[in-house]
Symmetry: C2
Subunit: 199 residues, 2 copies
Amino acid sequence: MDQVKQKTGYHHGDLRQQLVAATRALVEEKGPDLFSVSEACRAAGVSTAAPYRHFADRTEMLIAVALEGFGEMTASFETALAGHEPGSNDAITAVGTAYVDYAEANPGLFRMMFAGDHQSDALEEAGHGCYAVVLGQVARRMGRAEVDDAVMQAAFPLWTFVHGLAFLRIDGKAEFAKMQTEVRDLVGFATQRLMVRPG
Amino acid sequence: MDQVKQKTGYHHGDLRQQLVAATRALVEEKGPDLFSVSEACRAAGVSTAAPYRHFADRTEMLIAVALEGFGEMTASFETALAGHEPGSNDAITAVGTAYVDYAEANPGLFRMMFAGDHQSDALEEAGHGCYAVVLGQVARRMGRAEVDDAVMQAAFPLWTFVHGLAFLRIDGKAEFAKMQTEVRDLVGFATQRLMVRPG
DNA sequence: TGTACATCAGTGAACGCGCGTTCACTGATGTAC
DNA sequence: TGTACATCAGTGAACGCGCGTTCACTGATGTAC
């Protein structure tokens, strides 16, 4: 539609995106360490040399996938915020719940996004952009115009909690601990308890 | 001393333990997926066929390392409890801090211990034994003789918090979020806030 | 509209490599008499 | 104490395999005239 039309429609339509998709599926299936370029090529129906037209090396393919993940996660935060009063406990709980939901929907990708491997400036920036959504809500909650140290201090325990919940759930530890409480309720509880009282 | 004396003193002294140590070092260095039997053999100065006298396969070597980890973590909990009143906030905070400290001292091992891969009954049991220390403190805190559903409910948010803090720290996200607060203080804060009031 | 040319995405074969596991073996150690 | 034997931990060579990356190439597409 309009001008979009995928910039290049050469031989393959959009091999780069197909490779990213194949890589992502493999990251989910076996993790980033066991992902192989060759297997992604097989999935995309392409020779093993083809990716090198689009990526410098194996690592760049993984970074592309992680970047896609941060974009989606940020978007899911924005979506989750719709209909909640900015800076309310409800809004913060909605973002936290979206965080855990995203991890559960994309466990392999989530693990890779937050593991220290495979750095890049773009990735760092994407991570900051994502966290900025959370920080913005916490700042409002505290009645601050800017994200200052106090906001960072207040937001970190919340991140800690949802990050832990995400990992415990994708690793099956909620069952291990016989904990059936819904994610939203657990995150709501943590938001109430951990959030600094306003003013 | 006494009767201990390592049961077998054959060719190698104790190859099994040497292989476990080598495997553990490699898990730290490159992660469980990139660990290779061959490299562990090189480290132990032994042929690549030697491990198969002691382990059925590669996976069993990793499981042995994870088991060692759970044993150490459980012991570190017991040590941390010494000198604190059983069931006090202090005691619970000490265990939580020991959890995060263990993760930071053994990040690769910690990741492997809690990732869902490589199951085994012994591993499951070791995990339960470790968590039982936490549950015991929470039960006391709540004045219960047994670990019932209420105790499980109360303990889970604490586990969630320290688990999240462990991951954020080993992945360098505390720096990312400019959070310099000491682990003990963060865990203490979470214990106060998340712990159900007694009675 | 038709032709000549430039571009460059994707090919296919090859490279050197390290892997997990198996096998028949050997040789040091422990044991029975 | 000395000899014959059994055990079994560790050897060394081999197996079949898939990997990441390179290279000179080819052939479909886009562009200039």
